[in-house]
Symmetry: C2
Subunit: 272 residues, 2 copies
């Protein structure tokens, strides 16, 4: 999908919520475990209950790979369900891939063509030729890890190269890559104070913001410093929504948790 559609959906739904589908069989309601495909059954219920409140869904691929063939199959059914029933939702394969050029092309083909995701998260460590293969697809987006929400972000991302933090080097250098108009960036919500400077470097890019809620990020702060004229933010919540209840009411509870975040977003959009 193209960004104009994403932005118009944000405005129509008054939401820039992304829901993380990080499915752990130990955490989903036990009655679903009798289903032939409990992972897909869980995802379908969550999507059915929340699709009017969110603009994006983000399965973290690790959770599917952990279940081998069954997990891969559930992932395929989930993205097919999203694309068939909700084609205006933006889909993110949270895969954090990245390899030498001809190998990155393989990952791009797997996630953009075979699975037909709108976007994928990619790690920058291997540089330009590891990312550019992802940027060559029309209306497909590459969400580059810049500043993540975990404690390890301080190990390398916050270290200074020529007086400028590594994550800012990633933002700056990536703007020169071929197809950079298809780049978005991961910026952890726990790092909201850095968003002002980040917006100086990438004023127009969409930012995918994990870490609101469970990891302690503050939505108001993130929006204050991170929002741009085209909104430019996708705020992700995973566990806080999908595991809001472990009972038979899990989907309703997820909708309630999503609605609460959507209401905060609506208020922020009205106050602009």
């Amino acid at each position: 999908m193209n960004l104009d559609l994403l932005i118009s959906e944000i405005e129509r739904k008054e939401s820039f919520l992304c829901i993380g589908l990080d499915v752990d069989l130990a955490k989903i309601p036990t009655h679903l475990l009798d289903d032939d495909d409990p992972i897909f059954a869980f995802n379908k219920s969550i999507i059915d209950a929340t699709h009017h409140l969110a603009v994006a869904y983000k399965p973290n691929i690790a959770f599917y790979e952990a279940y081998g063939l069954a997990g891969w199959n559930a992932l395929k059914k989930t993205i097919e369900y999203l694309n068939q029933h909700h084609p205006k939702l933006f889909t993110i394969a949270d895969a954090k891939r990245g390899d030498i050029g001809n190998t990155s092309s393989r990952y791009a083909k797997a996630f953009f063509e075979d699975l037909d995701f709108d976007s994928i998260t990619v790690a920058p460590y291997m540089g330009k030729d590891s990312v550019e293969p992802f940027l060559q697809f029309d209306n497909k987006y590459t969400i580059l890890l810049a500043l993540t929400s975990n404690p390890g972000a301080s190990d390398f991302q916050m270290k200074e190269i020529d007086g400028i933090e590594m994550y800012k080097q990633v933002l700056t250098v990536s703007k020169s890559w071929i197809g950079s108009e298809n780049l978005m960036y991961v910026i952890g919500a726990t790092q909201a104070e850095h968003l002002r400077e980040i917006r100086d470097i990438v004023p127009n890019s969409f930012l995918l913001i994990p870490g609101v809620g469970a990891q302690g990020g503050d939505m108001g702060e993130v929006c204050k410093y991170g929002m741009n004229d085209g909104i430019g933010l996708l705020i992700n919540s995973s566990r806080g929504i999908i595991y809001a209840s472990k009972g038979k009411d899990f989907a309703e509870a997820a909708a309630e948790a999503a609605h609460e975040l959507q209401q905060q977003m609506q208020a922020i959009l009205h106050d602009r």
Copy 2:
């Protein structure tokens, strides 16, 4: 498997060759395409023809993900075949994964437990808590990207932080992580001149060296500067071996190409 076994296999076979199983259906012999599972049929033939010449096999996971469920199934059959028939071979999932802690645990479980690989390649960008979950498994190894063989290595890895290149920071910092005795490192063969300094930082670690051959790295240089008392090197070749012929003699041609590299390694081991 443990490192003592790997080292004794290197000495017994007089080889520290790793064969990269990067299977592309457009490049394998066409007669295999009639097989129910051409990817596995290809891998099995390559393994059968070369297992006495190599000590490690490294499927790059991208090539399997690109074929969706069929690819994932072929990967599973390949690792099962290696573990059942050649349990003394060291197996590497070239996956370049890395995510926040609880998610990295998922990847570790997928590759170390479900698929039962001996090791996995991991990207360092997200820091300590993204890597440590991989280090908590006995007799399982995490091969951290340090200095890669592609041109993009110069974008970030070679940049200096406090006067020290990023890849050296990765080597140094990672030594303090819990479970660091299970770390190995990826060092591209195209960067052989850096191996002397690398050995000053990680004298005892195994290094996985891609880029000999197709990408232009020189084996003699790599061994001169990179070898330690326990050998400490796994030199990978992928395309140069598995695509040595596209005819019905592909397995014999692969064995010949592998034998040529093994002979070079034997000579180097004798000259020590």
